[in-house]
């Protein structure tokens, strides 16, 4: 029994303080937000002609893209005729440019040839089978040389096995990786407008022709759907010359395997990266919409839909410029928040010591443990996910101390009740914890639901809030079960919690009498 309590207790200490030490040694510390530390400001200057409200649409699209990167709270604003993206917590300007600099230009380019990186693979034809080129990675291992038979290469065989989805009539199934000469051999003979592009993980390269159409042929309504049991992406074509007509012109070329598009495949290219290269299955798309099928998983389908939907920024931007911006609030704001927060926490502890007496030591140590956990997670995410604390976030964390204390209060009040009715903590602590845990669990679940919903569905500051709410609630639950419970139960066996004046309940019997009289 004793062991069953000691193990979680020691584990929590090890995780919390170990994590803290590790982060301190690694030099991870929480990054600060735009208001406290400044960051990098990236200016996007539109070029060419664009509609007046197109810039607002562009801002929304860029917000969508930048916000999906992490939990930091970037600022995306339209300033005069430019779009300004302010990124907090970014160390160097180059990485900021990398983040924002993707101009989001979605283009459609006919595939001339394709192959894997650094190899000369083979296998022509077989374009009707459908494979999402992005998903397969293992082909790079094989170095088969020229052969026309699909089944020879082990990679191809594996691949054929995965291509179970037959192309539907209006579909543009995704490509088979038929072969091309590798990058090295192909480079010298590149014709005007041709380029060699890799896919996301760099395992396939495509020799593509000139840009045949831009993402503007699609409406911003791409969605992932299930059809016949597999995931497909459906997108509507914009009507008119820049939409349907342009698309059909390209589609016809590819379907007929004309010289400009011998492979029948049309690569969807975002910022120089081949997102997908479906083979065209119809010469003309009369239904006004395009369906892309393939061996997608749900997340792949959604990803592709998102790219089709948001990739097409209606404005073309010049090369972005990055500048460092200073904080809008002085460092004294942060110091004020931290100092007054610390004082506040001290006051809370003081109050708890006055009210609950010596058992408040459990809270003191508990706050140290949860503080270490929180610091570790935030520092680590600052490093890995670009999380950045704003002043409001800092204040929110300080506030969460009050809410964390509630779990102790609920438990201690139950213990007090139990002492008043004349029980000894040694016997009743476990049962009182079970009762308190129920309350904590229910109340925390509500907070977690809130955090999860807000996290999934929102962007920006609200998302940041959801993150911290979720984090502190989870830590609260972990601490209550793995720290407070074993700690109090163990202490309940010692004299520490079994002397008369513990928790401030003095004489047990007389109190009941007083209540009853």
């Amino acid at each position: 029994m004793r062991r069953r309590l000691l193990v979680p207790l020691i584990s929590v200490f090890v995780v919390a303080f170990g994590g803290l030490t590790a982060n301190l040694l690694a030099g991870n510390s929480p990054a600060l937000g735009l208001d406290l530390q400044g960051g990098v400001s990236v200016t996007l200057q539109p070029v060419g002609e664009y509609e007046a409200n197109a810039l607002d649409v562009a801002v929304e699209i860029i917000r969508q893209r930048v916000d999906s990167l992490g939990v930091a709270e970037p600022e995306i604003i339209r300033q005069g005729g430019t779009v300004v993206v302010n990124l907090p917590g970014v160390k160097d300007q180059q990485s900021a440019l990398d983040l924002v600099g993707r101009t989001g230009e979605l283009t459609l380019r006919p595939v001339l040839q394709m192959g894997t990186t650094a190899t000369t693979t083979t296998v022509a034809g077989e374009t009707t089978t459908t494979v999402d080129a992005v998903t397969s990675t293992s082909v790079a291992e094989q170095t088969t040389t020229t052969a026309a038979d699909v089944a020879t290469g082990p990679g191809s065989a594996r691949r054929a096995a995965t291509t179970t989805v037959p192309p539907t009539d209006s579909s543009v199934p995704v490509a088979d990786d038929s072969a091309v000469p590798a990058t090295t051999s192909a480079q010298p003979q590149l014709a005007e407008g041709q380029e060699i592009l890799a896919d996301k993980d760099g395992s396939f390269v495509y020799l593509v022709g000139p840009v045949a159409a831009t993402g503007e042929v699609f409406e911003n309504d791409a969605s992932a759907e299930i059809q016949n049991g597999s995931w497909v992406v459906v997108v509507t074509l914009r009507s008119g010359a820049v939409g349907e007509d342009q698309w059909n012109a390209v589609a016809a070329q590819c379907f007929n395997k004309e010289e400009t598009c011998p492979s029948q495949q049309l690569a969807i290219v975002l910022d120089g990266e081949v997102i997908s290269a479906p083979a065209v299955q119809e010469p003309t798309f009369t239904g006004g919409s395009v369906q892309i099928s393939g061996d997608f998983t749900e997340s792949e389908a959604r990803q592709l839909a998102k790219i089709l939907e948001f990739g097409a920024v209606p404005v073309k931007f010049d090369a972005p410029t990055a500048q460092a911006v200073s904080a809008t609030l002085g460092t004294d704001s942060l110091r004020a928040a931290v100092v007054s927060g610390a004082v506040g926490v001290l006051l809370v502890l003081l109050y708890l010591f006055l009210y609950y007496r010596r058992i408040a030591l459990v809270v003191l140590l508990g706050l140290a443990v949860s503080g270490s956990l929180q610091w570790s997670v935030i520092s680590w995410l600052s490093r890995s996910n670009g999380l950045a604390l704003t002043l409001a976030g800092t204040a929110g964390i300080i506030l969460s101390v009050g809410v964390t204390v509630d779990s102790y209060v609920v438990f201690f009040e139950k213990l007090k009740d139990s002492l008043r009715s004349g029980r000894r903590l040694k016997n009743s602590a476990q049962r009182e914890f079970t009762a308190a845990w129920r309350t904590i669990l229910v109340a925390d679940t509500v907070s977690l639901i809130g955090a999860a919903v807000l996290w999934w569905l929102t962007v920006g500051a609200v998302r940041g809030f959801a993150f911290f709410l979720g984090l502190s609630t989870l830590i609260d639950m972990v601490i209550a079960y793995f720290y407070t419970r074993p700690m109090v139960l163990l202490l309940a066996r010692t004299r520490f919690l079994n002397s008369a004046s513990v928790l401030g309940v003095k004489r047990v019997e007389s109190d009941v009498a007083a209540g009853g009289a």
């Binding site: 609030l329 926490v345 009050g402 204390v405 009040e413 809130g450 807000l454 500051a461 609200v462």
Partner: protein, 377 residues
């Protein structure tokens, strides 16, 4: 008197008749809500630059023109600087000062532009002026609104699953009440709404729900405990609230102390103005959150539950003082057990409202609950 109250609070033996005085709370809240709605319609809310956008100037940084002098320029032109964003932009070779404030009339804007140029000793044309969109785009608001809708639906479902529908009604009413009043404080005082304020409101929402759930959990516990005996729902509500009163007070104090510290020490003493409005929003929200779980959510639940046939018979019957004290002190009667015709009735027959008028409160209360073998050693 105070000492006595403190002692009772401390020992958890308060016998406040919250439920009997529920109308006071309802009327008080109704008045506040009406004032708030009036203010929201009449005055609206003062949205900050993050919501409305504004105007920005950029000028080369120099020894004469720094962030501080830029602030002075704004002040000289009677522009509120508390929420102005003044920062330096450093592109490596040249640094500029960027000043962003809320929209200004044309003459003020050009006056600022001119005085910035004067300060920096440059030509007026070297100060760029541009309009700035909001950082808080329409899509953020839309998404947040949808998320909130989903949140309420899920929380309702969760409460219905864990507790019951009437508790969901009570809890959500309390949350809406808190948010309305917190927004009202912003509307009435003319404080500027910033993204931090929105975050503060969300915090309030979460806190209020959390607080209510803890009270409801105790109500549920007591409802189960008294399910076999004739106890009016009003009594259950009163007993539960008195039992969790100290917990509510302690939690509220623990949550309020850091906020008060942020406000008084951080904002007033140390001068971090940015903390001030955030802290005020939280202060108001936490206070209303603690208030509403006791004066709105739980009494409302009581009103709804008393309409049920099971409790309708005993509607309005409340035990007070010592009787309540006895119930609060861990459950049941320790003293006299008055005999009467109804006292010996089995709980099964109690739904018939015949007995209603015959029984007086003390008899009902002295009826023992189910045997509690496990609870007493």
């Amino acid at each position: 008197m105070m000492a006595g109250l403190w002692n009772r609070l401390y020992t958890g033996t308060t016998t406040v008749d919250f439920y009997g005085k529920r109308k006071v709370g309802f009327i008080f809240s109704a008045v506040l809500v009406i004032i708030t709605l009036g203010s929201l319609i009449g005055r609206g809310v003062n949205l900050g630059i993050d919501f409305t956008g504004g105007i920005a100037w950029e000028v080369k940084q120099s020894a004469e023109l720094t962030v501080d002098t830029a602030r002075e320029v704004l002040e000289a032109n009677n522009i509120e600087t508390a929420n102005a964003k003044i920062q330096t932009i450093d592109s490596g070779d040249a640094a500029r000062v960027r000043i962003q404030v809320e929209d200004q009339p044309e003459n003020v804007a050009s006056a600022v532009k001119k005085s910035l140029a004067d300060k920096a000793s440059v030509d007026v044309n070297e100060v760029s002026q541009s309009s700035v969109s909001s950082t808080w785009g329409r899509s953020i608001t839309e998404k947040a609104a949808w998320a909130l809708l989903w949140f309420f639906l899920l929380v309702t479902a969760f409460i219905v699953w864990q507790f019951e529908f009437k508790m969901a009604v009570g809890a959500l009413a309390a949350v809406v009440h808190d948010i309305i009043i917190s927004v009202g404080v912003y509307s009435l005082s003319g404080f500027e709404m910033t993204p931090a304020t929105v975050v503060a409101f969300l915090t309030i929402l979460g806190y209020s729900l959390y607080d209510t759930i803890v009270v409801f959990d105790r109500v549920r516990e007591n409802t189960e405990m008294y399910s076999g005996s004739k106890v009016s729902y009003g009594d259950i509500v009163n007993v539960s609230m008195n039992q969790v009163l100290m917990r509510s007070l302690n939690t509220s104090i623990s949550s309020l102390l850091p906020v008060v510290s942020l406000l008084v020490l951080g904002s007033f003493v140390m001068g971090a103005v940015a903390l001030q409005e955030f802290a005020i929003a939280l202060l108001v929200g936490l206070a209303t959150g603690a208030y509403s779980s006791i004066y709105i959510a739980t009494p409302l639940l009581g009103v709804l539950k008393e309409r049920e046939t099971k409790y309708a018979a005993m509607r309005g019957e409340l035990s007070r003082g010592a009787d309540m004290g006895r119930m609060i002190a861990r459950g049941m009667t320790t003293t006299t057990r008055t005999r009467s015709a109804t006292a010996s009735e089995k709980p099964a027959s109690e739904s018939t409202p015949v007995a209603e008028s015959l029984v007086d409160a003390s008899v009902i209360l002295s009826h023992p609950p189910r045997p509690r073998k496990k609870r007493q050693r």
